[in-house]
Symmetry: D2
Amino acid sequence: MEHRSEAGETDRPTIPCTPEAVQNEGLVLVFLATPAEVSMELAPAMLDAGVRVIDLSGAFRLRTVENYARWYGAQHTSPQWLADAVYGLPEYFRNRIPGARLVANPGCYPTAANLAIRPLIDAGAIDRLAGIVCDAKSGVSGAGRKPSLKTSFCEVTENFSAYSILNHRHVPEVLMTSGLDECEFSFTAQLIPIHRGILETIYFRGKNLNSAEDIVAIYKERYKAEPFLRIHKAGNAPDLHAVAGTNFCDLGAVYDGRTGRAVVVAAIDNLTKGAASMAVQSMNLMLGFAETEALL
Amino acid sequence: MEHRSEAGETDRPTIPCTPEAVQNEGLVLVFLATPAEVSMELAPAMLDAGVRVIDLSGAFRLRTVENYARWYGAQHTSPQWLADAVYGLPEYFRNRIPGARLVANPGCYPTAANLAIRPLIDAGAIDRLAGIVCDAKSGVSGAGRKPSLKTSFCEVTENFSAYSILNHRHVPEVLMTSGLDECEFSFTAQLIPIHRGILETIYFRGKNLNSAEDIVAIYKERYKAEPFLRIHKAGNAPDLHAVAGTNFCDLGAVYDGRTGRAVVVAAIDNLTKGAASMAVQSMNLMLGFAETEALL
Amino acid sequence: MEHRSEAGETDRPTIPCTPEAVQNEGLVLVFLATPAEVSMELAPAMLDAGVRVIDLSGAFRLRTVENYARWYGAQHTSPQWLADAVYGLPEYFRNRIPGARLVANPGCYPTAANLAIRPLIDAGAIDRLAGIVCDAKSGVSGAGRKPSLKTSFCEVTENFSAYSILNHRHVPEVLMTSGLDECEFSFTAQLIPIHRGILETIYFRGKNLNSAEDIVAIYKERYKAEPFLRIHKAGNAPDLHAVAGTNFCDLGAVYDGRTGRAVVVAAIDNLTKGAASMAVQSMNLMLGFAETEALL
Amino acid sequence: MEHRSEAGETDRPTIPCTPEAVQNEGLVLVFLATPAEVSMELAPAMLDAGVRVIDLSGAFRLRTVENYARWYGAQHTSPQWLADAVYGLPEYFRNRIPGARLVANPGCYPTAANLAIRPLIDAGAIDRLAGIVCDAKSGVSGAGRKPSLKTSFCEVTENFSAYSILNHRHVPEVLMTSGLDECEFSFTAQLIPIHRGILETIYFRGKNLNSAEDIVAIYKERYKAEPFLRIHKAGNAPDLHAVAGTNFCDLGAVYDGRTGRAVVVAAIDNLTKGAASMAVQSMNLMLGFAETEALL
């Protein structure tokens, strides 16, 4: 029991964020929490130095330079790594993550959307002709830490607003992972005046469904071996308090059998399951630790 | 310039909320901000005493006892007044409000929804087969002032949750006013951790539309004489700060011409345009005042 | 009833913020909501052009260049105007404001502090040897609109912190107006995670007092002709909701007769009584309008 | 890795809160998070059944029935246990807690106040004649979970208010532990619109002090062996984010050597160091675990 250092200070050692320093320290894996344009340069340099990389930016999530150019409005400068990058959503790419050299950690919005939508697509439970609506809401930390008028306290408190309507750069991750065409998927991002958490309300018309219990059954079967998915009873929906600070994704479903209208609600913490702790989940897989190590 | 009374006190005179007291005072109109089950008894008593009534509850908004029974889960005890009640949405019932004895002030959610949806239905701009999704979010004041765990500060702050999914009692007001069938309309209510304001994100597939400008043009034409509707430029969406404390409804539209996906966003203050100030707007019409009196 | 312009737009005419433009338009008075270093240059230019000025910065509040240098850490570049400037607290300088050419609108914190403390000093009700503590809390708008990490939503929400402890630049305005020596006055500013409002909790030892009623009586007597001061019953304290958006200052007092410990609480809205609406109050006095015009 | 139960449900076993059930299960210690009037009855019953008790209410914190009657406005019904109860502030009663049968877990406000004030009293660094002011602010969870108008979201958000001015029932815990007379200590509690956290701003006149560094040195010396106290550099003050969800108490100090005015700021999380995790800290001591077990 020794005395702590000055409050607000830390004596944790740091090293420069360079391939040389990382090599010298003998690190086998780095997390990059850098902007896409930085990750595009830094990740290949780390990889060339023999270090495995989990990149939290969007740099390596999409599979083609065309897609990257369209959604990020910039040219990809390391296209040679796109094919090797593994999309780090363990629930769907658990077999490929352990051997990956470069893991592209998923975006926060697509994580909730894919975990909610993909099982229903796979089960043929969605009338795709009628389209899927994903109305997404995120806490302000999703916008990053850099000060801006848009994220300043007085603009956000007692307010609510939509942004990137139909045009958010996370959309292609849902199309890619859940196998949807853009015309089938309407997505709006919105800012909740809270620190952390994403709630997505997803609307579709059911196919081969009789009741919300059927949706719940699909989720339970698909996720029965998953440690971080929790399914609500039919008719109930999750909230953000239940997932704050955790690696859980909570799902709930409501269904009107008479008209076929369906709503599923997905909740995650954008800073953990939507970013940092899912990256740790991938690291656990990559380094041979128990997948839930440090996460449960 | 005289000295104010004690802070926190008021010397405004009050009278009992009875037909007799109201008659004795010679009032010609009363506002009822009482629960539906109270309004059902009190409004007829006031009306029988010759006093006009603007009722802010849901008691007289629906036209049939069957509908009331379904959505309110109770028997209507004054069905004789349902036919006479005028739905107090001035933008659509301005001709009937001045002569009304009983005005049923609209619900907060339907006000935003109808002002956004009805012009597009009337213009044939919505592919109704694909359905309309209305993802609605409200500040906590929408739940009333009575203390409950659900609306206590610690449950609400840093949280976000959906309720009454597909089953909110305000739904029939949208069906009735915009002329939709229930199977065409999916509605979810959600609680924003703020005091006041409603934002609704409405999704549909466009018909006979080329761009968001077309939607804006429909709104501008329909509402060109309306003092309380403000239309954003194509591609822009309103937020809640802009309508807080006002009688405005702000509308914005986004459209993807290639796929036909459309999103419109409507913003009102649930306590004013969604309740009190719209009631005053109706009162102005009923008593022959300028419609914007005290509201602009 | 004409159609409104685009939501979010305005067609209010603007003119350049220069003496020439102001003269050309024939304006007789301008409000400057500029930083102190800008006001120091701009106000004299406006005054030289024959325009009266209400300056909302700290540029002309202190009476000496030495004081300015100490608290603002900068040299005053227009010292010739310090003597002419009138401190725009109508409750104490009502006689001088009507004839003033330059009014220095008070700081938000000193407005609440002076309105609470000065009457008690004047009445000899404070044991000054024991000192006065003013623990002040402000909404985030008090920090201005410029984005910074300190005022970004995620830093402020669910947080509370003190700043400028014993060293806030508003302190000299309290010393000057209430006639205190610095050693008698301890002041700490703190950030509340809200948009607007200042609450100050002021501690002292009473002199010649028996009960909270005595404090209330002093306030009521002193402010009996004031339209914007509201005094709570003995033992009660104001909150911020009651003053939000108003020009009121609410005061409350608690006293323990046995030990002489006293607490008074003052509440204002920092954006109105602490800034804009008090400036309008001064303008009303300067231009011969009713002092409460547009404010009650 | 097995499948989780329904989200929102739990399969953790519960037992009745009775001495019999507790005995049957062979429990050696119980935490009581019950109101004082319940704890007064329940704790003795548990103790008589041979179970040790950590009581989180105020029932056993004060040493005399007179004191209890004065501050809690009720008669103590188990006075025979007052002498045996150990006040569970490990930093000051670490020697007595391990052998205690009944630990009275301290109030949240006094925990921060005593940890900040007592070392300075012991060091003779406070001019007690001038008095100590403790301006305390707490998140809403400090008011308990029971719904009330006072703690409902719409009353609290964008508001700030003081309560129990000079009269809070936690005051005697500070007098008792720091050895102050009531006339020396002015305390006001205030409600911050946040979930959790207490920040106390404490004012006094220094004795035998030259600078803030002297105060910091006193804290560092006194708490050098304490795992849960963190001291800021002179001139810096803690905020609530740094202590949220932790068992830490952070302290900071500012001093004006010329006038002797001193301010110290203490921050804790009222739900952890101010309640639950401090109770665990005491349990660790009582059961022979490492004191920081599960807390660091």
